[in-house]
């Protein structure tokens, strides 16, 4: 099994670009080093692209360096045009996207990686000579058949799954889970069929360029299973799904890296695959859900709105913006707990104004972020950063949870389940076991909520509403914070 040998400088350069990608992720260990990390990533990509273009030109015998012919230059003009089209579209999107829409954007980008993987696998199948995967008899290596089929299948699942995730996150499609009867059997059967047909494809005795329908059937089945896997998953579980598809896009790149014997692709694929898998794990743990139960679907409709709430006849206190302003001004420490509702109301900027006014009055203000706040991992941190909240005022759950007992005010805006003590006490609750903020230990609690009838996506009542130290601020999040800001300025 000999592949077309690449010159040693090209192999070294691909390895270098793989190392630069590792450094790109390493940089993200702190915001201070992250920007340098991103530049490492750009450098790695530039090297990989330039090396690939150079090695595609003919290298004369005895030379290390390519000598392009006129025909090659025409081909490269086309390729550069393709890159330019992609660059214009990509940069335009990156500049225009609003930060609340980041989950949709990432899902859309995943779908492109998936589709690109399918196209590359199909091209390798149709033109195996160019990829150096033909044996002397003109057949595609059996192992290359497995690798390219896996690449196409994972890519196709990533594509169609991400399209559904995008539609659900973007509101083109209801966030409610769509449950087909017998879906577990259909899904499992389709997956087994994909594995079986891939094996059959590898075992065929002669497969020249494009000479088997099995490759296309597997790709089609994989597109189908991508749709089927994601439609039963509810909108609220999308953070897990987006992380999972992130992981898949990495495995697809790795599979194609095996086909091409390309170290940059293999290293990158492994990094991205591991990254997505770890993020899915973190999200599942933060919701106390098993990965299997998320994938099985049927949980967490986004539209759990008012109708799910039962009639509430327990006493609760209603507060006003003036009450909140007065009490917070006198406080030593205020912890703000933002949830997705804050992002929907676009209240992050006015919230930061409120925090600034409190800080001027000598109050310590901290932000507490739950891992599943927002619609993707770390989403809330980006939204606060966009509103110019310094990142050293923003704390993770485990770092701040011990502080509530010494905190005067817990200010809850757009969050619900993540402050529900039922997760700690009520074994029958659907959110039991999920790590939550100990807000009930704070001296006073302000809870911004649209009305008393709505409940969180898990559809459970929250004991915090009825506590002695709680004041409910019933209003749109942005309007309420604006009123508090006005009251603070008076």
């Amino acid at each position: 099994m000999e592949h077309v040998a690449l010159p040693p400088w090209a192999l070294a350069a691909y390895l270098g670009s793989g190392v630069l990608f590792i450094l790109a992720l390493r940089g993200l260990s702190s915001p201070a080093t992250s920007r340098a990390g991103n530049r490492f990533g750009i450098a790695g990509m530039t090297i990989a692209v330039i090396v690939t273009l150079l090695t595609q030109m003919p290298i004369p015998e005895g030379h290390w360096w390519p000598r392009p012919r006129p025909a090659d230059l025409a081909t490269f003009a086309k390729i550069l045009a393709a890159v330019a089209i992609g660059a214009v579209i990509g940069l335009t999107i990156a500049r225009r996207i609003i930060m609340t829409a980041m989950p949709q954007l990432v899902a859309a980008f995943h779908s492109l990686v998936g589709l690109a993987a399918v196209l590359v696998a199909a091209a390798a199948f149709l033109n195996p000579g160019a990829f150096g995967i033909l044996d002397s008899a003109g057949d595609i290596f059996a192992i290359s058949r497995v690798e390219m089929t896996l690449g196409a299948a994972i890519g196709a699942i990533t594509f169609s799954g991400s399209v559904i995730a995008f539609a659900k996150l973007n509101g083109n499609m209801s966030g409610a889970p769509i449950l087909l009867p017998g879906r577990h059997f259909i899904n499992l059967g389709t997956l087994l069929l994909i594995v079986g047909l891939t094996a059959a494809f590898a075992l065929e005795s002669h497969v020249g360029a494009g000479e088997s329908a099995l490759f296309w059937i597997v790709a089609l089945l994989a597109f189908l299973i991508g749709f089927l896997l994601i439609i039963p998953i509810g909108g609220a579980d999308m953070p897990v799904v987006v992380s999972m598809l992130n992981s898949y896009s990495g495995w697809a790149a790795a599979a194609m890296g095996f086909t091409l014997h390309n170290t940059a692709m293999i290293i990158t694929g492994a990094l991205v695959g591991a990254s997505g898998a770890i993020l899915s794990y973190i999200m599942c743990k933060a919701m106390n859900r098993s990965f299997i139960s998320v994938i099985a679907g049927g949980f967490g409709s986004d539209d759990a709105g008012g109708e799910a709430g039962e009639k509430i006849d327990r006493p609760w206190k209603r507060g006003s913006a003036e009450d909140a302003a007065f009490i917070m001004k006198e406080a030593q420490q205020v912890i703000i707990i933002p949830g997705y509702g804050m992002a929907v109301a676009q209240a992050q900027h006015v919230l930061r104004e409120m925090a600034d006014l409190l800080k001027e009055a000598g109050v310590t203000v901290k932000y507490a972020i739950h891992p599943v706040a927002g619609r993707m991992p770390g989403h809330m941190n980006v939204l606060l950063a966009e509103a110019n909240v310094p990142y050293d005022e923003v704390f993770e759950l485990e770092d701040i949870n011990g502080e509530f007992a010494q905190t005067d005010v817990a200010f809850i805006i757009g969050a619900n389940d993540v402050v529900n003590p039922a997760a700690k006490t009520d074994k029958g609750s659907p959110i039991y076991g999920m790590p939550v903020f100990d807000v009930e230990k704070a001296r006073s609690i302000f809870f911004i909520k649209r009305s008393m009838s709505g409940v969180g996506y898990a559809g459970v009542d929250n004991e915090v509403f009825y506590m002695d130290q709680t004041m409910m601020l019933l209003s749109d999040a942005k309007k309420m914070v604006e009123q508090i800001v006005r009251a603070l300025q008076d």
Binding site: G86, A87, V120, N127, I143, A274, G378
Partner: protein, 93 residues
């Protein structure tokens, strides 16, 4: 390279990925997803090879479309990551 060497690189890279990603601060998990998305577009290498070979016109067109898709991701992914990272600021003292 034979299959086992490639597999070795892959397995070791998985371990590197595991440790590197756990060291990423949770505050940067969204940029992490954006940048991993950008770098997974290194699949463009395969698209470029297909686009550069005239041996099969269909494969060449698939390659060119692949180059467009991957380029959207590369430029969009790195640019949006840079835009997000520029927003993370420390307290002014």
């Amino acid at each position: 390279m034979d299959f086992i060497s490639i597999l070795s690189i892959f397995v070791l890279a998985c371990f590197i990925g595991y440790y590197v990603v756990w060291s990423v601060t949770p505050a940067l998990h969204t940029p992490l997803m954006a940048v991993t998305n950008a770098i997974s577009s290194v699949i463009v290498v395969g698209a470029l090879i297909a686009a550069a070979s005239a041996a099969n016109p269909v494969a060449q067109w698939l390659g060119l479309i692949g180059v467009v898709l991957a380029s959207i991701n590369i430029f969009g992914g790195f640019a949006v990551t840079a835009r997000m990272l520029a927003m993370y600021k420390k307290k002014e003292r």
